[in-house]
């Protein structure tokens, strides 16, 4: 399988935090057409990694390749890359900049240089696919969290990307809203496209993902299938994931009783 992204010895520091590498000698090869879970504690470099995929951050050293080609950072190349790679943020309020749902979804397509008619068609199509056609007339600030998340997703899907990169998109969504997002992701995956999703959830890694990347302190410490990760005692123990994912099983191996029952 040809990789969609390759990171080769990528290092990156934030300008306001010179002493620490956000990514350090980061090497990873991301297979195309998979559902990829990206696991790692806060500050391990997940968001930095994702922002590199879209060309928003440029590595200090090393290189990023998209479909075999090193990323170019001039305007035309970035426009093409950003059409191909859609980025979804943790908090939809960060992405939704317009009080009109219709205009917000139409923003990306217009930036691609599409005609107004084509952009409108894309908006309706994306809204249909995300089940939010009934929201197009509503103002953004009157939407619930789950609705905002789906509008943000529609705004990215309207650009018809090949890869979706989602930074903990399920945070602060209730399970019903999470299901709606999963349904949209699944249809995207069924078209043969690639999804990267940051998550901390064992069930998602085990049952949703087809490939897992584990980050720690700016490095990729594991790449492989969920089965390989869950049978790799060394990685699970050294990253603390065994404790995180099975804490409840380990500490409370049997059913608990209420104080009355004891």
């Amino acid at each position: 399988m040809k990789p969609v992204f390759e990171f080769r010895d990528v290092s990156f520091k934030y300008p306001n935090c010179e002493e620490k590498f956000a990514l350090q000698d980061f090497n990873v090869s991301i297979p195309a057409g998979e559902k990829i879970a990206v696991v790692g504690r806060n500050g391990s470099g997940k968001s930095t990694f994702f922002l590199h995929c879209n060309g928003l951050y440029r590595p200090w050293s090393g290189e990023v390749r998209y479909r075999g080609q090193p990323l170019a950072y001039h305007r035309a190349a970035l426009r093409q890359l950003r059409q191909q790679v859609g980025l979804i943020f943790q908090n939809p309020d960060e992405q939704l900049f317009n009080a009109s749902v219709f205009q917000d979804i139409g923003f990306g397509p217009l930036n691609l240089g599409l005609s107004k008619e084509e952009a409108k068609r894309r908006v309706h199509h994306a809204a249909e696919a995300c089940g939010i056609a009934y929201l197009l007339e509503r103002p953004t600030h009157a939407l619930s969290g789950g609705e905002k998340a789906r509008v943000a997703l529609a705004g990215v899907l309207a650009m018809q990307p090949e890869v979706l990169v989602a930074d903990e998109p399920l945070n602060s969504l209730d399970p019903w809203a999470q299901l709606a997002i999963f349904d949209i992701f699944q249809r995207f995956y069924d078209e043969g496209k690639t999804i990267l999703m940051a998550t901390h959830n064992l069930s998602i890694v085990r049952y949703w993902a087809t490939y897992v990347i584990v980050l720690e302190a700016g490095r990729a410490v594991f790449c492989g299938t969920p089965r390989e990760l869950l049978t790799n005692r060394d990685v699970l123990d050294s990253t603390g994931l065994s404790r995180v994912w099975w804490k409840v099983d380990l500490d409370y191996p049997s059913e608990q009783k209420s104080r009355d029952e004891q």
Binding site: E94, N98, Q103, G108, L112, K120, P139, H141, A142
Partner: protein, 258 residues
Amino acid sequence: MDFIDSYAYSNHLRKVEPVFKAGLAGSILILCLLLNSPFVGLAAVLWMAGLAVWLASIPPKVFGGILLAEFGFFLLATGGIAVSITLTSPVAIHPWRLHIGPVWFSTAPQLLRQALLVISRVMGCVAAMNFLALTTPMTDLFRLAQQMRMPDTLIDLMTLMYRYIFVLFETMERMLKAQQGRLGYATFKSGITSAGLLATRLFLDAYRRSQQLQIALEARGYESGNLRLLTDSYGADYRLLWLGLAAVASLLLVWMMG
């Protein structure tokens, strides 16, 4: 503010081309300012209330309530025109006078007439603006401004500000609740401190959000320059056009008769 906004998005004139609504409100406003007869303002209020209620299905209570609140406000302001308060005996042209202790209250018919003219003029203008605010969402007004060749940068700023007012307001409410939950406003002194901290945090939060916004916009293909905004097309409403022309004609008629 919130409920005016929600009517703007849900009223029956929502899908009418904003230029019709703004044109009507604008011409009524200009007529109220130009024609100096107190009946013109009254007629304008009646027309605007009628159109908002019948065509846009704004509940009469809502339109009346907003108008009443504004009326109270302007009544205070025009009181100063109608009644003059002096410490010495008022001038001879003020035939109606009343003195309580050392203070003289006095007025004259022409002053009352002038106050009536001012308040009816103001109420007519305000009713026209209320009609526009209740029937047209902000985003449509921005689009109208764009069609009227307002500079794009200004429109981009308004678009972003209008959206982020609500985000900032939500953030403020959350922070305020968190502070109240930890007794931040239990005493006057702690209240002052908490309010100061809240303002600082809000400022920092707004700054952080502006940087995130830049990233989020670029991720969707924004290149420095202007925000490209997709506009929906709305229908013309000839009922509103004819009724609007009738309103304008009737204001002129009222002026000529009065």
